[in-house]
Symmetry: C2
Subunit: 218 residues, 2 copies
């Protein structure tokens, strides 16, 4: 499983770094998994919403060649050799200058997210990253969740908002705010590699998973 986390200026630090560390612990524990931090276009440094300056691993690689689902066709709910694309949130509700809102308005990132999803890639969001998935047309009529400050916006965008920490709708997996990204990543480890690995990583990180994971509309 190749996990690509996409960064943009104004991303919320833990939305991205929490899942990044969860996935990297799984890799270190021997899971067949890679995880990287990417940008859509070449960018030397990405600045987070809290002022963290990160040098990304490079430009977002294309969807795996194995991910050859016909666009429009129902994508597989199981990640196999496909990539997982994880989208953090940040700045949607504070209307920061560099933010999810800016990226929604620019449109390039939502378009890329839609391309990945069409190619069969499972798409996940943490926090207000869900608003980027909504802009990509992924959440329309589907169960999803976001940071508490953006619940009404996500609903207004057509999603069927579920009151849960993580909502797993197969090829679309969304999490609540900030620290819910830890639970999203642990859930995906559980789903793809089994509960023993998820428990091992949570134990290593001394994290007691919080909240409820709801599958589909609950």
């Amino acid at each position: 499983m190749d996990v690509a986390i996409v960064l943009f200026d104004g991303f919320d630090d833990l939305d991205a770094i929490g899942p990044f560390e969860v996935f990297d612990h799984a890799r270190a524990a021997g899971a067949d998994l890679s995880v990287g931090l990417y940008t859509l276009a070449p960018q030397a440094v990405v600045t987070s919403s809290h002022g963290l300056r990160i040098q990304p691993d490079g430009v977002l690689p294309p969807p795996s060649p194995e991910a050859d689902a016909t666009p429009g066709e129902e994508a597989s709910a199981v990640i196999d050799s496909q990539d997982l694309l994880l989208v953090p949130g940040g700045g949607w509700s504070s209307r920061a200058e560099a933010s999810v809102r800016t990226e929604v308005e620019r449109g390039d990132l939502p378009a890329a997210i839609a391309r990945f999803h069409d190619a069969g890639t499972t798409v996940a969001s943490v926090c207000t990253g869900a608003m980027l998935l909504a802009a990509a047309g992924l959440t329309d009529g589907r169960p999803a969740v976001t940071h508490h400050s953006a619940i009404e916006d996500l609903e207004a965008a057509g999603a069927e908002v579920v009151d849960a920490r993580v909502v797993d709708d197969g090829d679309l997996v969304t999490a609540g705010g900030i620290t819910a990204g830890l639970d999203l990543a642990l859930h995906l480890l559980d789903r793809e590699f089994g509960s023993e690995l998820a428990r091992q990583v949570a134990g290593e990180m001394e994290y007691d998973p919080q909240g409820e994971v709801v599958t589909g509309s609950g």
Copy 2:
């Protein structure tokens, strides 16, 4: 309250970024607080234990001029205009090439930590950062905690290990592994600014504080 988080190659990502984001949310909420990520010597990029490349904010500033406690004298348990120095862990137990262990062997960082503590700065650690505090001579005979993998090493180094998520011994505050850094930072917000701010930040980060905070030897 000026919070300095000291980074070194091999630091554990969330040990540092978790508290960093907690403190920065407090700043954004209006608390009189600053937080920065620093290195001991000038360094353009710091690489974490999981491969995150961060551009630090600069070189660790000296202890606040207000922190003028005589070396050896009992430092105040209350942070006022003094700095808080937060030390992350990383790689102690895996014996990674760049790690807490390397920094303990090199000795510069423990010496700096001791200087800060002597000057009256409250020193905090997350995870195996406690082994750097031990190397600085701070934990001898004092209640402390660390990542579960290093409990015996911390005990062997002379600390009185307490089974808790966060151990607050006034000018020495230690936390368990990785995600316990969130609880340490929230506890320090509670201690220095009151429970309302701590609750507000935890709510914004959708984090339900975990484990027990023990004051002194419990």
